[in-house]
Symmetry: C2
Amino acid sequence: MGRSYRVGEVATLTRVSVRTLHHYDRIGLLRPAAHSSGGYRMYGESDLLRLQQILTLRYLGFPLKRIGELLGRPDFDLVASLRVQRQALRERSAELERISTAVGDLVERRLETGAWSWELVIEASQAVGASLTQREETMEAHYTPEQMKQFAAVGETTPPEEIASIEREWTELLAEVRANYDLDPASATARALGDRAEALTARTMRGYEPYPELTEAIGANYEKGAFEGNMLAPQAADFAFLARVKAAR
Amino acid sequence: MGRSYRVGEVATLTRVSVRTLHHYDRIGLLRPAAHSSGGYRMYGESDLLRLQQILTLRYLGFPLKRIGELLGRPDFDLVASLRVQRQALRERSAELERISTAVGDLVERRLETGAWSWELVIEASQAVGASLTQREETMEAHYTPEQMKQFAAVGETTPPEEIASIEREWTELLAEVRANYDLDPASATARALGDRAEALTARTMRGYEPYPELTEAIGANYEKGAFEGNMLAPQAADFAFLARVKAAR
DNA sequence: ATAAAGCCTGACGTAACGTCAGAGTCAAGG
DNA sequence: CCTTGACTCTGACGTTACGTCAGGCTTTAT
């Protein structure tokens, strides 16, 4: 029997306003587990978990209405949802990085040439605009029943130590790659790195194999800089190097 | 004399809705440079630049009213503002990364122990909530008149090739550091890496020296994973290694 | 010159809260 | 046990940043 919390406590703990919690209660998104005799809202621990889901999904751009529908679906799986969230947060982070470089390019060009590059201005606006309009569509795709089920299934087929081992090896490999960006792509050392990368990719994908659409989606995300695990994230330059190696046969 | 655009063009170019542009016109945030004889809004290129500012600042959480005030300030400097924006976007990206790992920790724990860790649930919620409530305050700090002036001054004192050189050296150094995480922190090799890192930090900070508050703020951001340039970003593990080296004297 | 496509201006609607106001509830200390 | 200060409740109304028609001009392409 876990402890219970009053609105104010929940509010300070999760840094949302009391009024927001009232609001979520009224629209039926998060009703407290119980009420005191005097009518106070008493939240339980599972309520906190649900609130976490709500807050993260809201942060990712879902309207509250959709969140309610999602959380109410019979096939909703908390663990799968958290996985999707982590994935989406990483994607969003990479997106911000892209916007940031777009803005950076804009200043740089201005400082170099003394004039504004209107193409870069537009590019920067587009980047920020895209991340606001795309987001709903992108997220909806993640939360289709099939995707959820698939994400839920992955963890069960791949043991955690295999995941950890894969992440460690990626980190090591990337460190070596980064120390050798200037290497001749046709050299034996470079080819060896390329081979290791390919083998690791295969191992990484193993758990997802039964689900072709997922494999594809994950491949795309890799190149965009979004990842499942907490590993050192590969960057565009790493892929560029590996691509050069592959091109050099 | 640059070309001019109609609402629809601006809208598709920057991926905002026509209605949004109408709205910005009505509240006086972005009035088109001219009107056609028939009353069509005709936007000029400088309008696009202003729109970029608006969109980025909005993305960063500023209310439109504050944006209007900001852009109207007599000491407003476009280049400085863009620098601040890039910085802020990076910070936001790093924040997302933190939230993502918080969510990741939560799932992981659940899979390991079979039960939910309420502390981690709260932590995850807090992370999300913080990034929504903090944002205004944090950004306001960036946009004080002094900070703006200082950011504007930086680029003028440090030549671009010095910046490029510094970024390249950081990238090289980090690659080596990453290849040696397991090295004895007291070893000569490790100490050499530590020395190089300190020297580079000093060079990095040179341009900011006249402004102590900026130096401090930048130092803090480094550890949080936010950066000025487009370089390979150091990660927590890198700092951990360098800290170990320093601790080993 | 005649559509098709695009643009205009209200008027009204919506989401997700924020802001009081007035009244009731709780838990600790005297 | 009772008081008191901190907390909570429920409307009612306000706010921000647009979205959604509706009815009617403007442009541009053919």
